[in-house]
């Protein structure tokens, strides 16, 4: 297709449903969502009020799906959506929203603003109004197979390194394995230590697992840019791989959106329930722990905390598992003040980290995480999302903080 305003509006008309109509009907402009959004709290700019970011969607809803709106429109009292408006809103919808879901959890009226942003992005993509960085990531995902141009060769190289490090065999395309592990681009490209760590833990626990040569990439740029077409293609690759290898469970790695994309959006994108389970790596490790298959030795004495990735905790429901795991090895663990489902975003989720233009804003709003960390005076931040890890590392460097960020899985692997 060729993107156009008409296609954009058409896509919005398609995605507007009862929830969106109920949310817009209910909004009283109380502004509580602003206080839940770190882009507002850290900048004080009211344009970053979450419900304001979905104004174009509201306009389409009102003009197309309400008798009153149609009446006003007929009288010429409301103008149709323009491409200029979409362009004006692009930085609000993409640069200034990480889909963290905090506003959705706060809205006194019950509005799931995050859901609306996600739906608005469908229309923006169809209208061709999306940030270059995200378009590129989605393009590379479709054409190369990974937003970071990770290919099977790259994976194989990482596997070889892991095998050398651990002395273990990393299984690939092992049909009939219990689990299929997928990895995010970040984990293959930026944090290759994760694979040996997982291999070590799985080996100790006696897990039957495999990687898949046609479905190793977990990152779903389609969810981030807000195109269900792109997202569906990417999810379908994983489903095909898992079904080919006949695995019972797919393990989503330390990546927030990968989990949301596969676990919650996946079945809806391909239009049928999965024949396998989807677990986040921390969920699976916690199951091993509960079954007594995960034995650790030694303790971390560093003062540490856990940063909940939004898509894992608030939008994923995985809150206790990582804490149970950390509990096994941490001596000096503290919680941030807002934590669990109330946690503040790192600032780079929802595709924001892929938008170059958004860099200054993203680095600015890191001040929220900084003040959270400063308040509890930790030296180590554990997390379970490679993107969060990357963002926090950048923030720490920007702010010259004396804190290090570690992956939960990697830390655990050192104690098995």
């Amino acid at each position: 297709m060729t993107t156009s305003l008409a296609q954009g509006v058409n896509a919005l008309v398609d995605v507007i449903d009862r929830p969106i109509a109920a949310f817009f009907n209910s909004c009283v402009h109380c502004g509580f969502c602003a206080e839940a959004c770190l882009f507002y709290t850290e900048t004080g700019d009211p344009r970053y009020t979450p419900i304001y970011k979905v104004e174009p969607l509201r306009k389409v809803w009102k003009q197309h799906f309400t008798v009153w709106g149609k009446f006003l429109h007929a009288l010429g009292l409301s103008k149709p959506l323009t491409i200029e408006e979409l362009r004006e809103w692009e930085p609000l919808v993409y640069d200034a929203c990480t889909l963290c879901g905090r506003c959705s959890a706060v809205c006194p009226l019950g509005n799931d603003v995050t859901y609306m942003i996600r739906k608005l992005r469908e229309g923006m993509v169809a209208a061709g109004v999306a940030p270059e960085g995200l378009k590129g990531a989605a393009y590379r995902s479709l054409t190369i197979g990974s937003p970071m141009k990770i290919t099977l060769q790259t994976l194989k190289a990482t596997m070889r390194d892991a095998e050398q490090q651990t002395g273990l065999t990393i299984p690939l395309d092992k049909e009939g394995a219990e689990l299929m592990l997928i990895l995010s681009s970040n984990e293959i490209g930026l944090y290759p230590e994760i694979l040996p760590a997982i291999a070590r833990i799985f080996d100790k626990a006696g897990v039957s697992w495999t990687l898949c040569s046609t479905a190793f990439e977990a990152t779903n740029a389609g969810i981030q840019i807000g195109s269900s077409d792109v997202a569906r293609t990417l999810v379908q690759r994983i489903v095909d791989g898992a079904e080919k290898l006949k695995v019972k469970t797919v393990i989503s790695p330390e990546c927030g959106h990968a989990y949301t994309a596969l676990r919650w959006d996946g079945p809806n994108l391909i239009g049928r329930p999965f024949p396998f389970k989807v677990l986040h790596i921390t969920e699976f490790l916690d199951q091993l722990r509960a079954a007594g298959k995960l034995k650790t030795s030694g303790h971390e004495s560093e003062r540490m905390t856990y940063h909940d990735p939004c898509q894992i905790a608030r939008r994923g429901g995985v809150v206790d598992a990582p804490r149970n795991l950390i509990d096994m090895i941490a001596d000096n663990y503290v919680e941030m003040e807002e934590t669990g489902i109330a946690n503040w975003c790192c600032g780079g989720g929802g595709g924001v980290s892929s938008i170059e233009r958004a860099d200054p804003l993203r680095r600015k709003v890191f001040s929220k995480k900084k003040s959270q960390l400063d308040a509890i005076k930790v030296t180590t931040v554990v997390t379970a999302c490679a993107n969060c890890r990357h963002m926090i590392e950048e923030g720490i460097e920007d702010n010259k903080m004396n804190v290090k960020v570690v992956s939960l899985t990697e830390m655990l692997a050192q104690h098995v």
Binding site: I16, D17, R18, P19, I20, A21, A22, F23, N25, S26, C27, V28, H29, C30, G31, F32, A34, E35, A36, Y40, G44, P46, R47, T49, I51, Y52, F65, V67, W68, R102, S104, A105, V106, C107, P108, L109, G110, N111, D112, R263, G266, P267, N268, G271, R272, P273, F274, K277, A313, R314, R315, G316, G317, V319, E337, E338, T339, G340, I341, A342
Partner: protein, 219 residues
């Protein structure tokens, strides 16, 4: 038109028109929303959606639990005027007479003194919220004409009701007529403004709570 004619009009044709517009408008707006439908969620649930949805319908009245946000003054004032408005509407003796004449059944009233206190609290809260909206960056930014129309439509029944009960500024007929008229304006505006939230909030909260609940998150 004199006071008595005016009162007669608001009690008769005015009320008929207002109720007709209100019922018709609310029903249309609710149905046009409801019938848009919603896709069935195919993802395997981690928690019970229904229970979570119902729970959120009530718990979201206190949205700032779990250290999510700083409720403070706005939350408190909003509660105050909502509670005052609903209790006075449902439990002031003359209102029960009004509702009984329509519904055919009544219920015991709450003491007038309590109603008076609630009305004062409601009026003060609403004025405070309005002033706050003028000076708060976000709320001033978000506030549109219709928000102020809705505020006025909500405030006037409280104010005119208080005046009618306590100091008939314009004589009893006029005070009562103005109060009834303000109520009629209020219900007429419901389907055309955000006042509609009194009906849709329950749907919105349920959907929100159910969506989080499916994921095993209680918000």
């Amino acid at each position: 038109m004199n006071d008595a004619d005016f009162l007669l009009w608001v009690r008769g044709p005015g009320m008929i028109i207002a109720v007709a517009v209100f019922v018709f408008g609310v029903l249309v707006r609710f149905l046009e929303m409801w019938l848009l439908g919603k896709n069935v969620d195919l993802a395997e649930p981690k928690g019970a959606a229904f229970g979570a949805g119902v729970r959120t319908m009530f718990t979201r009245s206190a949205p700032c639990g779990e250290e999510m946000c700083d409720g403070g003054f706005v939350l408190f004032s909003s509660w105050a005027f909502h509670i005052a408005f609903v209790l006075i509407f449902l439990f002031l003796a003359p209102h029960i007479l009004f509702l009984k004449s329509i519904l055919g059944f009544g219920w015991p009233a709450l003491p007038k003194a309590l109603m008076t206190i609630l009305a004062i609290i409601g009026i003060i809260s609403m004025v405070a919220l309005l002033v706050h909206r003028f000076f708060h960056a976000v709320r001033n930014f978000l506030g549109k004409t219709v928000d102020y129309v809705a505020w006025t439509a909500t405030f006037l029944p409280l104010l005119t009701g208080y005046l009618a009960a306590h100091s008939p500024l314009f004589g009893y007929s006029m005070s009562l007529a103005l109060h009834i008229l303000s109520f009629e304006i209020f219900i007429v505006l419901i389907p055309f403004t955000k006042l509609m939230h009194m009906f849709t909030v329950w749907v919105a909260r349920y959907i929100n709570g159910a969506a989080f609940g499916r994921k095993g998150v209680a918000v």
